[in-house]
Amino acid sequence: MTGAADSMPQDVADYLSAQQRKRLLRFITCGSVDDGKSSLIGRLLYEAKTLLEDQLAVLADESRRIGTTGGELDFALLLDGLSAEREQGITIDVAYRFFATERRKFIVADTPGHEQYTRNMVTGASTADAAVILVDARKGVLIQTRRHSFIASLLGIRHVALAINKMDLIAYSQERFTQLCREYRAFAESIGLVEVTCLPISALQGDNVTVASERTPWFDGPTLLEFLETVQIDEDRLQRAPLRLPIQWVNRPSQDFRGFAGQVASGVLRRGDAVRIGPAGTQSVVTRIVTRDGDLEQAVAGQSVTVCLREEIDVSRGDVLSHPDSAPAAADEFEATVVWMHEQPMLRGRSYLMKIGAKTVTATVMPLKYKINVNTLEHLAATRLDLNEIGVCDLELDRAVAFDPYAQNRATGAFILIDRVTNYTVGAGMLRFALRRSQNVHWQATDVDQAGRARLNGHQPCVLWFTGLSGAGKSTIANLLEKRLHALGQHTYLLDGDNVRHGLNKDLGFTDADRVENIRRVAEVAKLMLDAGLIVLVSFISPFRNERRMARSLVGDAEFLEVFIDTPLALAERRDVKGLYQKARQGQLKNFTGIDSPYETPENPEIRIDTTSVGADEAALEILRELQRRGIVAGE
């Protein structure tokens, strides 16, 4: 766009040139009706002189008739867009508001605070650069504050203002303000929100909203408006990210022109750049960046352009242009966070249409790993996601797509799920990472095999899978057995549940879903060691039959020996070597096997050790004999 230089009054000329430099910030406001959120936005609009006379007249009239501020202007009414909700006094959806100051133009996403909250807030947050989270100074940081903050963080919002409202009702207490800030910052940090600005405000009185308040002389931070005028716009960060240009449409008006149209999602594209087209991986060079205002030398994140390439290569809608040395990965299996937006639940095994960038594919939901309680942030086992629930699951696509993890790039890591029958947008998601199984990882053939390694070792490999309650004696017996095998010159390795949780599995908790993942990883490691020719001793509670079955099928039935260390709960609890049973009984440890999480007794273990009748040494010897009997270890 170029400015016009007609003769015009100086004030308008100044104004227009200021407008030309004005930038756009999108933000979301979070809080319940009681926190004074609508009043706050109403006040921002009012003070930014966005409200016009006729709108003010309607507002004044409605304030008198249905307002809740005793005849004063009730700014909350301004934001309740639909008549149905004006009658009920609730807002039902996401509304967008616009205002501008000398420095910036703003788009505010306003979301209601009732039970549809998660869906609406996720929608509003998806396009926001910053979030303003309101709390009532009297009530402090509530469960809902944590929920708002978590969703903001989940959706990739990096900048948060905690607006501590109704300071007038606590006599502008600095002490209370400082205490709330400290409390909130500690929580925010724990969920990855680092850029937090705390503000003492009164939406009703106007303190620190647009003008620094005389009633908080102890506060030297910005007003809310100053915060909004200076907070970083996400686009700046996106420009420094690797180039991503999702192709929306192929422009081919004639034989002479073939352009690829799209909006630059991140990075900078320059004429003459070598580019890679994903997911296929073909390469070409940018010959032109076409716009109706003339060709460009470069295009940056946010611009909609049309690109011409040197080679006549196949590029179609949904492909992603990048630089060859910083190309996005391509995969067809992902772990993703999904927010469910529909009354019909998301179910395992069901397939949905998935729109990611300009590409629409079919995605099948694999087992849910867990869902997240948005109030406590706890991970809970789940088999389905209901409306407004957030969970983590694997998705299997019918073909590969180019992508980035959402945390790195919102544009290439975000997707929506569409129901094939109702056509409704039922879910929104954020890709976390591609799964190992993905088809782009190929098996590399190797010449030295398991049998060869076994010959060199002088014994057969196997996996001994010790299962039993915590404190049953698994590790003790496994340790004694390993010592005996070692003394006999056998190559062994002992994988211990506690030890593995210090490293490989330190990111996992004790929910059902995490336990499943815990076992899966250990089974995979055991399988590698088996392939290396070792006798692998695995000592894990592994309470679920399903997962032991999974481990068995991963390793292979012939080389998998399930060793059930059978100790009654009462006995294990009486021993309580690590003091865990006591903690679990006191409620300090959740999901503890035997107490509030089940142990499923093995039905047909290869070896069963009854610890009420044999000691640990004896048990180790018993297992060794079984190995000899099976020809894994040479006999005496």
């Binding site: 009054p9 929608t123 716009t291 975000a414 056509n423």
Partner: protein, 300 residues
Amino acid sequence: MTTLTHLQRLEAESIHIMREVVAETDRPVMLYSIGKDSAVMLHVARKAFHPAPPPFPLLHVDTTWKFREMYAARDRLAAEPGIELLIYRNPEAVELGINPFTHGSAVHTDLWKTQGLKKALDRFGFDVAFGGARRDEERSRAKERVFSFRTAQHHWDPKNQRPELWNLYNTRKHKGQSIRVFPLSNWTELDVWQYIHLEKIPIVSLYYAKERPVVERDGALIMVDDERMPLAPGERPALKRVRFRTLGCYPLTGAIESSADSLPAIIREMLAARTSERQGRVIDRDGAASMEKKKQEGYF
């Protein structure tokens, strides 16, 4: 670091929306009302598909009661290369001779515009219609999606809208359903004027102040644009220096007294203006929630 201005970002977003529609739907059309928002929308469409012309026709749902100058501007546009402009007049309204004077503004708007639009879309088989509406215009618009679905009967259900996240628009629809798409959703009136100024977009001169013959009706200044305007006995149109902030059917469009005869002057007036542009529209005053009601019934 190149920073994009707010207008550049709004333009890029609108282009993205239009390209999504063209890439994913069968028969889109752009509603063309001859007003400034239509002018901006068409300008952005030309940019979106350049060097190709916009790959969809324009549709003017006519009421026969627009300003004469609007018809002249429309016909000039229709003659431009690369522009396919369709004109539709609801035959029922033609037959009944619907006009705002004998039938009132509500019936006039319903038959010519609401019913006219429905019939036009059905008749030509368009499944998607671009409209120039903006969220800042009116309260119920603030909550409408960019992609707004209509039933086969063209009804809007505000409580059952699809969530719209990131820039991922779900364009899937059932047979018979249609979509209204608002690429200028996030623009404000001031943005529109600034953009017209910066991009030198031609607009109908009714937006500029000039001496025009007007009469006062219910507090609104109505321009006597042709001889169909009934005058009370002894009533004489007065010449006043007026302009229009919004354009529609001339008997239903209030003028404002103004001396702003250039874009900078209009923008300066806007900055000082204390009333919203819809104030000049007689139909909005039919009831507190009148726009929402009209939209549920199928008005654009």
